[in-house]
C-alpha cells in the first residue's frame, strides 16, 4: 500500500507543478522570435481588388506609393518624391530604386503602371477620386511615372495611402498569391491563422523579429483570455481585433500594458433626411442638447473616448475649427421644442396632434455596443420628454433600412484615417454617392454643392471650403456627433517598444522588440 507522508506529498506536488510549467516554458521559447497578434477575421489571400480579406493585414505585405504617417503626414513609400502640376491635372512620382517584389520581380515604372491601371479608371473604384478622374499614365523614365487626371483631385495623395486597392502587387504573381514589396512575406494562411515571415530584402526598416502569427480569434473575451494566458502578444485596433474599453480597463489592472491614443473616427447620431419628425430642426436641436456626451464617454467608454460636437477630430487633416462640446441642457432642449411649436413637458410633447416619438434603429452586429449607448441616450431624452423606441435589428435589416433612411435616429461612424475627411464627406454627405448598405449620415441639395466645392478645392482655399461644409452641418444640426473613440491596444509585457501603427488599418510591428 502506498504510504504518503507530508514530505513525499510536498515533493510530488512540487514535481507536478514543475512539469505543468514545462509546456508553457517550451511554448514561450518556441515563440521567442514571433509576435502573435489577434485578428478578428481571416486574412484570406489578400486580394487587392476584392472586398473579401480583412483590411488590416495588407499593409504588412504590400507597400503603397505614399504611406500615411502620424497625424496624417505623408511619408515616402514606393515613391521617394512626387510633384503635383500647378493645374492639378498631373502628378509625377519618382519611384524608389532597387526595390523588388518578394518573388524577385523588380519594382519599376512598368510594374507601377500595371498596378495602377488595375483600378484607376475602373468603374468599381469610382469612389476613389483619383480613380474616378483618371485620364492616363505615362512612363517618363525607368523609375518615373506621371498620372494624368481629367480634373484636379486635391485629396489624391491621401487617397494613395489607403489600403485597398492601391497597394502594389507583383505583376508576376499568380491568382491568390499575395506577393508585395512590404516588410513581411505570407508563409501560409488558413481560416485560423496567417503566418508572416520577415522580408529580409525589405527596402525600409526591417522588423526586429522574424515571424508574425496572425491568430483568428473572433470573440473579444477569448482574445483577452488568450492574452492573459500568454497565447497572444497583442490585441486591439478597431479594424484588427477590437478591444472594448471595459476589457482594456480589466486588463490594465492585471499588469497588461494598455496603449490608448486619440482616435480618428467619430461616432455620430444620424437624423434621417426622409423622416418628417427629423426634418423639424427643433427636434434635432432638442436631441443635440439633450445628450450628455461626457457621460457617454465616461460611463460606456470608461474614459477611452473623447466627447465631441464636430464631425471629424483633429487627428484628421483639415478637420476644421473646433466647436465647444455642449453641456447637456434639458431646459434648453425643451425651450427649443417650445420655440419650434411643440407643446408639452418632460412627460411628452406633441405638435399638430402628433406625439413626439422617435424610432431609434440599432444593430449590435453592425455596431457592437450600440444598444447600450442607445439605452443611455433613450434615458437622457426621456427626461427631455422625447420618447424614443429602440428597434434592435440584425445586420441584414440594418443594411436594408439604412440606405432607405427608414429610421428616425441611428448610429454612424466616420471612416477615420487614412480615408478622412474626403472619404466620409464624399460618401456619407452626398446625395448621388453610392454607399451601398452603409447608408448616408445626412444629405441635402445645399450640402451637395458645398461638399462638391470642398472636395474639388485644393491649396490654401481647401481649409475654407471644408469649413463651409462643417459650418453648414453645425448650423443646421444635420448630425449629432457624440464621441471620438480612442485607439485601444493591450500588449503582453514581453513586447517592448510598442507604438501604435499609423492607422487602425495597419498591423503593429514597427519599433517592437520581443523580450
Amino acid at each position: 500500500m502506498l504510504k504518503l507522508d507530508r514530505r513525499s506529498f510536498l515533493a510530488t506536488t512540487a514535481g507536478l507543478s514543475f512539469l505543468s510549467v514545462l509546456p508553457r516554458v517550451a511554448h514561450a521559447d518556441g515563440h521567442a522570435d514571433t509576435l502573435r497578434v489577434a485578428i478578428a477575421g481571416e486574412t484570406g489571400d489578400l486580394d487587392l481588388l476584392q472586398n473579401v480579406s480583412t483590411l488590416s493585414s495588407y499593409s504588412a505585405v504590400f507597400d503603397a506609393l505614399i504611406h500615411y504617417g502620424p497625424g496624417g503626414a505623408l511619408e515616402p513609400g514606393l515613391a521617394t518624391a512626387w510633384t503635383i502640376a500647378e493645374d492639378g491635372l498631373s502628378i509625377s512620382f519618382d519611384l524608389r530604386e532597387g526595390v523588388s517584389f518578394t518573388d524577385g520581380t523588380p519594382f519599376d515604372a512598368t510594374a507601377a503602371e500595371w498596378n495602377l491601371k488595375r483600378w484607376m479608371g475602373v468603374a468599381d473604384f469610382s469612389w476613389i477620386g483619383i480613380a474616378d478622374n483618371y485620364d492616363n499614365i505615362t512612363i517618363d523614365a525607368p523609375n518615373k511615372i506621371t498620372v494624368k487626371l481629367k480634373r484636379p483631385v486635391p485629396a489624391a495623395l491621401l487617397e494613395l495611402t489607403i489600403v485597398r486597392p492601391v497597394r502594389f502587387l507583383s505583376p508576376k504573381a499568380a491568382a491568390g498569391q499575395p506577393i508585395g514589396t512590404g516588410p513581411w512575406i505570407v508563409e501560409s494562411y488558413s481560416s485560423t491563422e496567417t503566418v508572416l515571415v520577415r522580408n529580409d530584402a525589405y527596402w525600409g526598416e526591417k522588423p526586429a523579429f522574424g515571424r508574425m502569427e496572425l491568430k483568428v480569434v473572433p470573440d473579444e473575451l477569448a482574445r483577452a483570455n488568450a492574452l492573459r494566458a500568454g497565447e497572444l502578444d497583442v490585441i486591439g485596433g478597431d479594424w484588427v481585433a477590437a478591444l472594448s474599453p471595459r476589457r482594456a480597463k480589466a486588463l490594465e489592472g492585471e499588469g497588461m500594458t494598455i496603449v490608448a491614443e486619440p482616435g480618428t473616427a467619430t461616432t455620430i447620431l444620424g437624423f434621417s433626411p426622409k423622416s418628417p419628425m427629423m426634418q423639424d430642426k427643433a427636434v434635432r436641436d432638442a436631441i443635440f442638447m439633450g445628450i450628455d456626451r461626457a457621460a457617454v464617454a465616461t460611463v460606456l467608454f470608461e474614459g477611452y473616448a473623447d466627447p465631441t460636437a464636430d464631425i471629424f477630430p483633429t487627428t484628421v487633416p483639415t478637420a476644421g475649427a473646433r466647436t465647444p462640446v455642449p453641456a447637456r441642457d434639458v431646459a434648453a432642449a425643451q425651450a427649443a421644442l417650445t420655440a419650434g411649436g411643440w407643446t408639452g413637458d418632460a412627460s411628452g410633447w406633441a405638435k399638430d396632434g402628433a406625439a413626439l416619438e422617435i424610432a431609434f434603429l440599432v444593430s449590435e452586429e453592425s455596431f457592437p455596443g450600440s444598444r447600450r449607448i442607445a439605452e443611455m441616450i433613450q434615458g437622457m431624452l426621456m427626461e427631455v420628454g422625447v420618447k424614443t423606441n429602440i428597434e434592435t435589428v440584425d445586420n441584414a435589416t440594418m443594411h436594408e433600412r439604412r440606405p432607405n433612411f427608414d429610421y428616425d435616429l441611428t448610429f454612424f461612424a466616420t471612416y477615420g484615417a487614412p480615408y478622412d475627411p474626403h472619404g466620409s464627406l464624399g460618401a456619407s454627405f452626398v446625395t448621388a454617392s453610392d454607399t451601398g448598405p452603409d447608408g448616408k449620415i445626412y444629405v441635402h441639395p445645399d450640402l451637395d454643392a458645398l461638399v462638391a466645392t470642398a472636395l474639388e478645392t485644393g491649396g490654401d482655399s481647401r481649409q475654407g471650403a471644408m469649413q463651409a461644409v462643417y459650418d453648414w452641418l453645425r448650423d443646421n444640426t444635420a448630425a449629432c456627433p457624440l464621441v471620438v473613440t480612442q485607439r485601444l491596444w493591450a500588449v503582453n509585457p514581453r513586447v517592448k517598444g510598442f507604438t501604435l501603427p499609423a492607422t487602425d488599418y495597419d498591423l503593429p510591428f514597427k519599433g517592437i522588440t520581443l523580450g
Binding site: 472594448s244 460611463v299 449590435e364 428597434e391 436594408e400
Partner: protein, 297 residues
Amino acid sequence: MKNWPWAILAPALLFVLIGLFAPWIMTHDPASQDYSALLKGPSGAHWLGTDYLGRDMFSRIIGGARTSLVAMAFVLVAALAIGVVIGSFAGYVGGKTELVLISVIDIALALPSLVIALALMGVFSGENFSWMSDYWKMIVALTLAWWANYARMSRAVVVAELQQPYIEAARVMGASHIWIFTRHILPHVLGLVVVYASADAGALVLAIATLSFLGLGVAPPTPEWGQMLVDGMSYIEENPALVIIPGLALTAVVVSFNLLGEAFALQKVPRAVRGRFLARKKAARAAEDAARKEVEA
C-alpha cells in the same frame, strides 16, 4: 416526499404573483438611470445592486418577471386558441379538410418552434412591419410558432372522442354539431391542452428570453431577463451578478414550470390544484354518463 409538489409550485407561483404585483414590489423605476451608482453591489438602497447604467437590479428583475408573464400569457392564450380551433375543426370535419390541415400542422411541427419564431422575426423586421413594435412582433412570432402542438393534440382528442358511443347517441338524439362539440368534446380537449400548456409555459419564458438575448424581443427600456443576460455579458468579468441574477431567475422559473407540467402528467399535483384543473373534465364525464343513460332508457 408527501408535500413535494407544493415545493415545485413555489417558484412558478412566485413568478406569477411577482408578475401580477410587480408595480407594487419594485423599489425603483427599472428604467431610471443613475450614473453616480454604476455597477454597485447589494446595499440597503439597491438590494441586488445596480447595472452598468446605475439601474436598480432588484426592480429590473421584478419588472422582467412581469414582462415575461404578460408575454407568456398572451402567447399561450393565442396559441392555445388557434391550436384548439384548427385542430378540433380538422378532427371533427375529417376528410380532405383534415388532410390539408394535418399537413399544415405537420409542416409547422417539422421545424423547432424557436427557429420558426426567429424566421418570422426576420420577416417582421422588414419595412412593411415597421408599424408594429418589437414586443408585438415577438408575441405574434411566438404565437405562430407555438400553435401547432396544441392543434395536433386537439385533433387527436377530437378523433378519439368521436369514436365514443355517447357521441353516436347524441347524434341519434338530434344534437347539433355545435352542441356535441361544445358540451361533449371541447371539455376533453381543454382538459388536455391546458395541462400541456402548464408545462409549455417554462419553454415559452425561455423562448422569450432567448429572443431578447438575440436582440429580437422586448425593446429597451422595458426590463427583460434575456436582455439583462446579454447586456450583463460584457461585464461578466468584473460584475458577474449582472448575468447570474437574471440567469438564476430564468432557471428557477423554467425548471419549476417543467416540473409542474410533469407533475400534472403524472397526476402528482396536490389534490386541490389537480381538482381545479380537472373539474371541467369531470363535469364533461358526468354529462356523457347522463347522455348514455338517457339513450339506454
